[in-house]
Symmetry: C2
Subunit: 326 residues, 2 copies
Amino acid sequence: MNYVIGIDIGGTHFRVGLFDQDGGRLLVSEDATLRSGGRDWMLQQVRERSRVLTERADYTVKACGVSFGGPVDLGRQQVSSIHAPGWASFPLAKWVRENLNLECCLDNDANAGGLGEYRYGAGRGSHSMVYVTVSTGIGSGLICDGKIFRGKDNLAGEIGHIPVSDSGGVCSCGGRGCLETFCSGTAIARRGQDWASRRPEQVSRIVELSGGRAGKITAKSVIQAAAEGNMAASQILRESARWLARALLIIIRVVNPDRIVLGGGVAQAGGVLLDPVREFLEELGSPSIGYTTEIVLSELGIYSPLYGAAAMALDLIGAAPAGADS
Amino acid sequence: MNYVIGIDIGGTHFRVGLFDQDGGRLLVSEDATLRSGGRDWMLQQVRERSRVLTERADYTVKACGVSFGGPVDLGRQQVSSIHAPGWASFPLAKWVRENLNLECCLDNDANAGGLGEYRYGAGRGSHSMVYVTVSTGIGSGLICDGKIFRGKDNLAGEIGHIPVSDSGGVCSCGGRGCLETFCSGTAIARRGQDWASRRPEQVSRIVELSGGRAGKITAKSVIQAAAEGNMAASQILRESARWLARALLIIIRVVNPDRIVLGGGVAQAGGVLLDPVREFLEELGSPSIGYTTEIVLSELGIYSPLYGAAAMALDLIGAAPAGADS
């Protein structure tokens, strides 16, 4: 039996997991990301937690896969994020090799999440699949005929930055009218805050769930309030669902995959998001161009990228993948 | 040496071609489609012209590929178009086998055009390529790692029906806000006609090129007038280019191909369309998400689907493809 380590480094959380060669998750060590700690703090956490997991493993750990929550230069196996301080051009795979003493493969979280769901989650059994992650930002990972499809610049699936409107604010990418500005977790939080400043009486429950501070409203508190039946919160999610449905129809028209798997923190909302997404898809679609692409929620939830990181590690050592590929 | 027949059946023109096994085009027999003639007239034309070409061939014709300008049921190898009278559910590949006595493969014109350009035209040497055909309607064919990527329902690349606006008229597909309603040949012609009814003095040259009848303005006459420097015509093309650029950026974000090849009748406009497309792409794009996808015009022009049909026939008989695959 071979074991591998999967690492998922994100802007809000990070996770280190020990997996067996069938993709079985044995142990996970996770925590909130200390933003102020920067790169060095994160690397210290990763090193220490990997050491602990490796020591507790019954079999030898053979390789490591890393999912990074931001742009990655695949060829150079380094982070190319310019938004996360200290990470720009950092050769993360090389660092793992030198510090954890393991062969390593690095990719972004959308690709890793896609691979994770394809092999061990809601994508099992599909031939082509798109994993859409709705979180702080929005991204997607494409699986075509069982492999990650990366495109020329490793930018395939960058759906957060498709232009969906002439109006809309400036996006973090510097563009205008990007999908991300309309239906990401950030957009949901901002809409909740806007609402609080205009009609505070309608969003008191959301504010309460945000520790009583309207300025601290997050997508999570909006989602929870919607799940409890709060009308304003449901309206906010419907608005995001409307834009998300448009993006999903674009994916269906362009890629027409077997399955679209919705993951990321916002997708944890479940039915309060998925139901209106389906409704708007129905409304937007054409009566004459029928499609059979399924829209499902991720099975691995917030762990999709971690499973994908493990799958990347298993591919490195040539361990036969279980699940969809068999 | 093996020869094959390629057939391209379109709403305005049809073509029958004789090709050698390197994809060399030896003879072409083509004409305008007689709409009133319906399916039977077209089949009669195809049969007769194929017979003539076969008789003139120095080597045995071994197979036939057919490109159809409308939806195709790939599994059943039959036309699934509901817009072209008489063609619905017609088993075209079977008809070719029985009437031309040749093994046959059928696909839609977007996929065929994509394969043609990939193997013999502007897509040579690319790994992933999207062929975008702007004609009466708008479609695209995706090539991933050297193969047509069809999607679950053979609908991959249906970019004419991506939702790009909440406004906009009803599309032929029954949907609303489809790309096709904004920048197809039909949309260009309609915009020319609108202009003629409001500011006839500005489009007199377009009307002249349309036989003097404002109601007969076509995309072709608008393009010709634009090439001559007519301001109104250039404005109309710019408007189409603006929407087309948005669609191309969506393709770049989702698929990030090596190359996008612009084909179809409207793309014959060349620089008067491509220059503003590039300009709007620049404007829409993000300063931080750089991509290296090239945008080029088709090399085979209106013959892309015919070459693709020949390539499909060559694949049927296992003839080694020349060009990109070698």
